[in-house]
């Protein structure tokens, strides 16, 4: 699993790359007058984006989470479950 920064990067990269390839594919197809070319360029773009953003590459893991060392954690008391607050029954006020 990627670290947090890597997840954000992968997702942004996926969206930006796909939109960019779509724009390039549409313009290429329109200018060259070939629908087939548009589909081929876009398919290539999707393939490339898959290759870059789907596998868990090392560059998505440059900000590893730093957990506390167990020895440090043990020095501090664990938070105890709180006692349920005692509800004082109101005694009927004597008049």
């Amino acid at each position: 699993m990627m670290d947090w920064q890597g997840q954000k990067l992968a997702e942004q990269l996926m969206q930006i790359m796909l939109v960019a390839f779509a724009v390039v594919a549409f313009l290429t197809g329109y200018v060259m007058g070939s629908f087939r070319l548009m589909i081929l360029v876009y398919a290539g773009g999707v393939f490339l984006t898959t290759l870059i953003t789907v596998p868990n590459w090392p560059f998505f893991n440059r900000h590893p989470l730093k957990w506390l060392d167990p020895s440090v954690a043990e020095k501090y008391p664990k938070p105890q479950p709180q006692e349920p607050p005692v509800v004082l029954k109101k005694k009927p006020a004597k008049k």
């Binding site: 990627m2 996926m14 796909l18 779509a22 549409f26 329109y30 007058g33 070939s34 629908f35 876009y42």
Partner: protein, 167 residues
């Protein structure tokens, strides 16, 4: 979980959505095309013209159809279906429409054509109204795109008249 499968699924979903968008844009780009097709049809001869035993008139004719449909083709055009119809009015029907010939034009290169043919489908009237009848020959076409909206239009050619007598 941000796993391999999660990312692959998100990518495919987004990619398919964008594919739909660019296909819609391709369909929209067709509306920017303003075609100017031309067509000309000559009735070269009336082969025969008779009244069938059941009372309906039938005529056979030889046609010379020339058309230039190249401007209908855009980058998003799969093929063009084209048919020639005889159209006329009778006391019972305000519009009679009889398909005489049709064809599929699969590419722009052969969209400029000339065809010498007798009517491919029978020209039969509902009744015996054809003697001396004035009629139009109308070239209809349907543009079938690779994606998106289908277009249809026609070109009316008028001033044709059937003979006064059976032959």
């Amino acid at each position: 979980m941000h796993s391999f499968g999660f990312r692959a699924n998100a990518l495919l979903t987004f990619a398919a959505t964008i594919l739909a968008v660019i296909c819609a844009m391709a369909s929209f780009s067709d509306t920017l095309n303003s075609p100017s097709p031309t067509a000309e049809v000559q009735v070269l001869s009336i082969n025969w013209f008779q009244n069938q035993p059941n009372g309906n008139d039938e005529v056979s004719m030889t046609l010379n159809i020339s058309a230039d449909l190249q401007s209908l083709f855009t980058w998003n055009t799969k093929q063009v279906f084209v048919f020639l119809a005889a159209e006329y009015e009778t006391p019972t029907n305000s519009l009679n429409q009889i398909s005489l010939w049709d064809g599929i034009v699969p590419s722009k290169e052969i969209a400029k054509f000339q065809i010498h043919t007798s009517n491919k489908y029978r020209f039969v009237d509902q009744g015996s109204n054809l003697r001396g009848k004035k009629f139009n020959l109308t070239l209809h076409w349907h543009v079938m795109p690779k994606t998106g909206k289908m277009f249809a239009d026609k070109l009316v050619m008028s001033g044709y008249r059937l003979p006064q007598e059976y032959r």
